[in-house]
Amino acid sequence: MTKDEVFNRVADMISDQFEVDRSKITGDLNFKSDLDADSIDFVEFVLNLESEFGATIDDEDAEKLNTVNEAVDYIVSHS
């Protein structure tokens, strides 16, 4: 899967979960500061990522995912 394809699917997921306009989702978007995500929002997002891409994301790795691009890169390199 190309990086663009992953980005589009991740952006759709974020738009749905955080109820934000799909066109406003960029690679630099930060989960905490831009989306106001707390720990529960973030766990929900990581679990959704796992089921969407059939991936397993360790807790330690998940903690390092701060932006949309970091999540996309993780999926690209682990699938």
Binding site: E19, I40, L47
Partner: protein, 345 residues
Amino acid sequence: MKIAVDAMGGDYAPTEVVKGVEMARDLHPDMEFLLFGPKDQVEPLVANTERITLVHTEQVIEMGEEPVKAIKAKKDSSMVKAAEAVHNGEADAFLSGGNTGALLAAGLFIVGRIKGIERPALTTTLPMVEGPNDKFVMLDVGANADSRAFHLYQYAFMGAYYADAVLGIQKPRVGLLNNGTEADKGDKLHKAVHELLAANHDLNFIGNVESRELLNGAADVVVTDGFTGNAALKSTEGTALTMLNLIKRSIINGGLKDKLGAYLLKDTFNDINTKLDYSKYGGAVLIGVKAPVVKMHGSSKATTVRNTLGQIHTMVKSNTVGKIVDYFNTHADAMKAIKQEAKNN
């Protein structure tokens, strides 16, 4: 209606869970059950398989396990599989007496939130000793330790729908648990919640209520953050139990006069016991997820399992979740505006 039951959840599982399911099956002809657990342990306990389907699972989530890790690692557990059955539309509701945190995580992350609801809340029904009704609901009693004003604002609507649909209390009085009844009482969070609720006209909001008046009919729906709600619930339970034990001990250690008095008051004591026994109302419901997810007490025996399934029967039949979904769908824009307003406060 079909209910997914975690046969392995609770101190007396699977024996008492299976017994309770069979009692509920005999009581409600429109109920079917999916019973999740290791077949070699569950199957021999089922006396009659009418409307009961056994679903074999290999793993069990234990009481002490870390919730999110457990649901991630034990995908073939009775709890995860039961939650997935609800998520996939194979069952209408989910019941477990197992690890509370894992059940909340399974409800939140597998069954999933209703669109527009920020945080589901754990809701319990308690006896009202004095007041217009004989029971009231309180939420959140522990699903979320850290809460925002908008979360509590949404709990008020969910609690009001539950009180109306399940307890039959029309136009329920909604109160905010606080450290005083005046509107300006409380910390920043509670002041903000009071302001939001007071400005809404769909709810019958009566203002702040104090914990000492909860059992005396202070409100039909008590809204609180999960941290305070859990502390208030345990304090209420603990005080009631301590009082009952104190009376019991005084009678045992007392003389003939005390024992004779107790004998004469036997029926009164039984009445009090029945009134305070809130297990008859069923379990704690995680409201705000796409289907009823119910946690019964870990020490539940068959009768409590049956009662809790009766409560689920009412919830499914009255379409409580559907009504909440409808309200939040039709008020989606208003909710977004209020969320923004709450954030700016």
